[in-house]
């Protein structure tokens, strides 16, 4: 695990230009939405002085009045958002092949082979994504059905709302754990698709699950570690945004930079996990433990 950890850092640094690529695509798509959003918001503000009160903090009256004025136009922008997200998800699936291919090669790879790998694995990764979405759905149903049955069962006899809240929290905790495990093993399935050049996404999905079970601690501890880094990053942002504020253009720009650093870190962490999965798999394979 330790060896895989250090190797993953090397691999992440090795694919740094690709991290930048993913981040820039992410930012670009966000900005495509930002332009009409800004136009609508700016139009709503017009020459009014009231919206300036929103700079110091939230003002319910100003915000509601403004939203009443622009909600129709904002709804149009909101309607475009899911499509942009879908485009990014598809591009992300596409890039994953090239990124994992580059990590597996562990040597300078040409731009051409990167795009070739992207194209080569896209279909398999896409099928894997569909399988994982179905798996998430099944997982949600498995957790929700017994909870719903339990809630129905106690609805005529409960004496405290805690009878609902505590099982709901436990259910959510179990769901979160299994969901994260599934998400993690999905990355191992991707690594195995590339390593074994397998065409069967379904077989690799189960193979990834099997791998994650067998090496649960090595895999999951790192996954949780990355999740913790993200949480700390989120908490730091929350605190920083309070300190920096948005009272002037300068602080707005400063906060935007902080936001983008956070998004870049998040992109890097995502790719770091792929690098760790790749390293762990390779090490265990070399050691004959897989």
């Amino acid at each position: 695990m330790i060896r895989a950890f250090f190797q993953s850092i090397q691999k992440t640094l090795f694919v740094f230009p690709l991290i930048l690529l993913v981040y820039l695509v992410n930012l670009g798509l966000g900005l495509l939405l930002a332009l009409p959003y800004f136009k609508v918001f700016r139009g709503g503000i017009g020459n009014s002085m009231e919206p300036s009160k929103l700079l110091a903090g939230y003002d319910h009256t100003v915000y509601r009045d403004l939203m009443e004025q622009i909600e129709g136009s904002i709804a149009v922008v909101d309607g475009q958002t899911p499509w942009m997200i879908l485009i990014f998800v598809l591009l992300s699936i596409f890039f994953n092949g090239g990124i994992i291919g580059a990590m597996a090669a562990s040597q300078d790879i040409s731009r051409k082979s990167f795009w070739t790998n992207c194209r080569h694995y896209f279909g398999r990764f896409f099928r894997l994504s569909i399988i994982s979405i179905i798996a998430y759905g099944i997982l949600a149903v498995i957790i929700a059905l017994p909870l719903a049955a339990y809630f129905k069962g106690i609805s005529s006899s409960f004496t405290s709302e805690q009878a609902f809240v505590i099982p709901a929290i436990i259910g959510a905790g179990i769901f979160l754990f299994l969901f994260s495990f599934l998400s993690m093993s999905n990355d191992y399935a991707k690594v195995k698709i590339v390593a074994e050049n397998s065409r069967s996404a379904l077989r690799m999905f189960f193979s990834g699950l099997k791998f994650s079970f067998r090496h649960f601690f090595s895999a999951y501890i790192f996954y949780v570690l990355l999740a913790m880094i993200l949480l700390v990053g989120g908490f730091t942002y929350w605190k920083l945004s309070g300190v920096v504020g948005t009272s002037s253009m300068f602080t707005i720009i400063l906060l935007f930079i902080i936001q983008q650093i956070l998004v870049f870190i998040r992109t890097s962490i995502r790719i770091w996990h792929l690098a760790y999965a790749s390293s762990l798999y390779q090490n265990l394979q070399r050691g004959g433990r897989w």
Binding site: L29, A34, Y37, R64, F88, E161
Partner: protein, 657 residues
């Protein structure tokens, strides 16, 4: 005392009656916790205070609203088309009241004369009002007091419209045959003597005369009871039951509750003892209830008038009986809570303040809740907003949680101005005539918002005087809109009918807008002037213009205002010039457009209509100001935030598949 009651051993609360005490009840009732049936004996002492001879009696049997799906209540839109969905299934869910015997004096049996009566609609299946015609020999002469002995049985529904049972929790309201209000000519809107005894509708509440209640409630011995009024006696019976005797004076109603699980907390403010009955699951909410109640009592004492009763009982229903939460009865209110409620979400405080405010606007000032719900709900909301904003902060009294702040007053305004159709109905209409929606928002939020507007126009101090005068003059009586308007006119010394015509009797909205601020250089005369021989061409000399001293430069500046809504309000306009000087202009707000014009060396930097937000019912404050240097920073702020969260969402979904 002008009537005799069977409870002569009762401890008198007020040595001198505070009200006319027209309808007085002695009731003995026994609750069968298994069948949810109340067996009651009621002695009603009712006095004819009019100059009319009265030939019939009318009573409310409110629980019959829940007898079947054909009642006017369940046929109304408030709870779906028929209401049965809310009830669930089974025999236990329905509620009803039946008068099994009615005697005048001790021996004149009126039972055969009882007939169901529908004064508001043609629904002959509605049984929420009964009428008892009286033969000439029994007619009630002016000044007479009659004594009626009424035996009744009532089945409580599964909690519906804040009354009924849920398992072993009972909330017993609108449960006994209750006489209507006889209105003499000239009283409120009556042109001739008549009963005011409306059917129970989905959107309406109640109306009753003041009186004294002596109520003995017999319940299983494990039950803890809370009720309107003051506990007089608690007695254990041989059949494993307990009888609680409560007395309430100068009140318009009586409600009570029983549950084996109540925890009791108490506090007091000056002469008022506050008792909280709370279910164990919400025990952690007790301090919040008590603090809110005490602070609201204190605020009302200062700004409206003295709360005359010696006590207030607050009931926190269990989560399985939450449908009884958020209701007001004399000296007895229900709150609503959730044990995981964060401190910054002040719904416990809000509901407590609201229901306590009803002690003034409903109980003490007993307006007709059927016909003029705005007089109680709207006034209550307005004063509740004031009390809460003063206690917890103008911008965070309702919510102060996770970076979201919301004051009470602004939240009510947002509810009104955010309506899909704020012109759906005018305030002044009976509750049951809001047939296509809008009842809640118009009655509560719009009224509170135009009362804030009235406060803005007359000033807070005068508004307090209005409320105090209204309270002093109309406590223990039945005022109507006209009475409140007369007080406003009297206190302000002006005829304010124009205000009420627009906000109360009309559904129109108020919206003023600064259309444009314009600054242009003062142009010298140019063109052809004069006639015939004297015709002369004057041209502008640009060179001379450029060379002229900066100090002589003057600007012709204009502020152009549009009245978009139909409501006309007096307006103040603050105009700010580049040198920092400000001019406050006044406009009567009548015209469709209005222009302010200045010729000064400085340009106008910005202008703002109603800079102190006095006209609080203006539906859009954002168009009330206009600056020549607009600030795009808020748009950048929200756009960058939007982009950030969209990026995060993209990353999250992409990392999962």
């Amino acid at each position: 005392m002008f009537f005799q009651t069977s409870s002569s051993n009762a401890q008198v609360i007020f040595p001198e009656p505070l009200s006319e005490r027209i309808a007085n009840y002695d009731i003995d009732v026994k609750l069968n916790a298994a069948t949810k049936i109340l067996d009651g004996k009621e002695i009603l002492y009712w006095r004819n205070t009019s100059n009319d001879t009265i030939y019939d009696l009318q009573f409310h049997l409110y629980l019959n609203a829940f007898k079947n799906t054909e009642s006017t209540f369940l046929q109304s839109g408030r709870i779906g088309t028929r209401g049965a969905d809310l009830f669930g299934e089974g025999d236990d869910i329905w509620g009803w009241t039946e008068v099994t015997s009615m005697k005048m004096g001790n021996d004149i049996d009126l039972t055969p004369q009882i007939e169901f009566y529908q004064p508001d609609d043609d629904n002959d299946k509605d049984q929420t009002v009964i009428r008892v015609p009286l033969v000439d020999s029994l007619a009630i002469m002016p000044g007479d007091t009659i004594q009626l002995e009424i035996d009744f049985q009532a089945k409580l529904p599964q909690i519906m419209a804040r009354t009924g049972f849920s398992r072993d929790y009972f909330f017993v309201a609108q449960w006994f045959p209750k006489i209507g209000v006889y209105e003499a000519p000239g009283q409120r809107y009556a042109t001739e003597g008549q009963w005011n005894c409306h059917q129970f509708h989905g959107n309406t509440e109640f109306f009753a005369d003041f009186g004294v209640y002596n109520v003995r409630m017999t319940v299983p011995e494990n039950m803890i009871v809370g009720a309107t009024g003051v506990l007089q006696e608690e007695k254990e019976n041989a059949d494993s039951t307990k009888t609680y005797y409560y007395r309430a004076e100068d009140v318009i109603d009586f409600a009570w509750t029983a549950s084996p699980n109540f925890l009791e907390f108490t506090d007091e403010w000056e002469h008022v003892k506050v008792r909280l009955l709370i279910h164990p699951e919400h025990e952690n909410m007790a301090p919040r209830y008590l603090e809110s109640a005490i602070k609201t009592i204190e605020y009302f004492d200062k700004h409206v008038g003295k709360y005359p009763y010696p006590n207030l009982t607050i009931i926190d229903p269990p989560s399985f009986g939450a449908a009884s939460g958020g209701m007001e009865y004399p000296t007895f209110i229900t709150g609503i809570s959730f044990s995981f409620l964060p401190e910054g979400v002040r719904s416990v405080e809000g509901v407590t303040a609201h229901e306590f405010a009803h002690q003034y606007f409903m109980q003490l000032i007993a307006s007709n809740e059927f016909e003029e719900a705005w007089l109680d709900e709207g006034f209550t909301t307005y004063m509740e907003n004031r009390a809460l904003d003063a206690t917890y902060g103008k911008k965070n009294a309702e919510i102060d949680f996770m970076g979201i702040q919301m004051g009470n007053r602004e939240s009510r305004r947002a509810g009104y101005v955010g309506m899909e159709n704020p012109k759906i109905a005018e305030n002044f209409r009976p509750g049951w005539e809001f047939k296509h929606g809008g009842y809640g928002t118009i009655t509560y939020n719009k009224t509170a918002t135009w009362l804030s507007t009235l406060e803005g126009i007359v000033g807070l101090e005068t508004m307090d005087q209005i409320m105090q005068t209204y309270f002093e003059r109309w406590k223990f009586k039945h005022p109507c809109a006209r009475d409140f308007i007369e007080i406003v006119n009297e206190v302000t010394g002006e005829d304010m009918q124009w205000f009420f015509d627009q906000v109360l009797y009309s559904a129109e909205i108020c919206d003023y807008k600064i259309h444009r601020v314009y600054n242009g250089k003062v142009e010298k005369e140019a063109g052809i002037f004069g006639l015939g021989e004297e015709r002369e061409l004057i041209v502008e000399d640009e060179e001379e213009e450029d060379n002229s001293n900066e100090e002589n430069k003057k600007y012709e500046s204009k502020v152009i205002i549009h009245r978009i809504g139909e409501v006309k309000m007096p307006m103040e306009i603050l105009v700010h010039f580049e040198d920092g000087e400000e001019v406050l202009e006044k406009w009567d707000g009548q015209a469709r457009t209005y222009e302010l014009k200045y010729e000064r060396p400085e340009k106008i930097k910005w202008a703002q209509i109603d800079p102190e937000y006095k006209i609080y019912m203006d539906v859009n404050f954002n168009n009330n100001s206009y600056t020549t240097e607009p600030d795009a920073a808020p748009a950048y702020k929200y756009t960058s935030r939007f982009v950030f969260w969209v990026q995060q969402l993209m990353q999250t979904i992409a990392s999962l598949v």
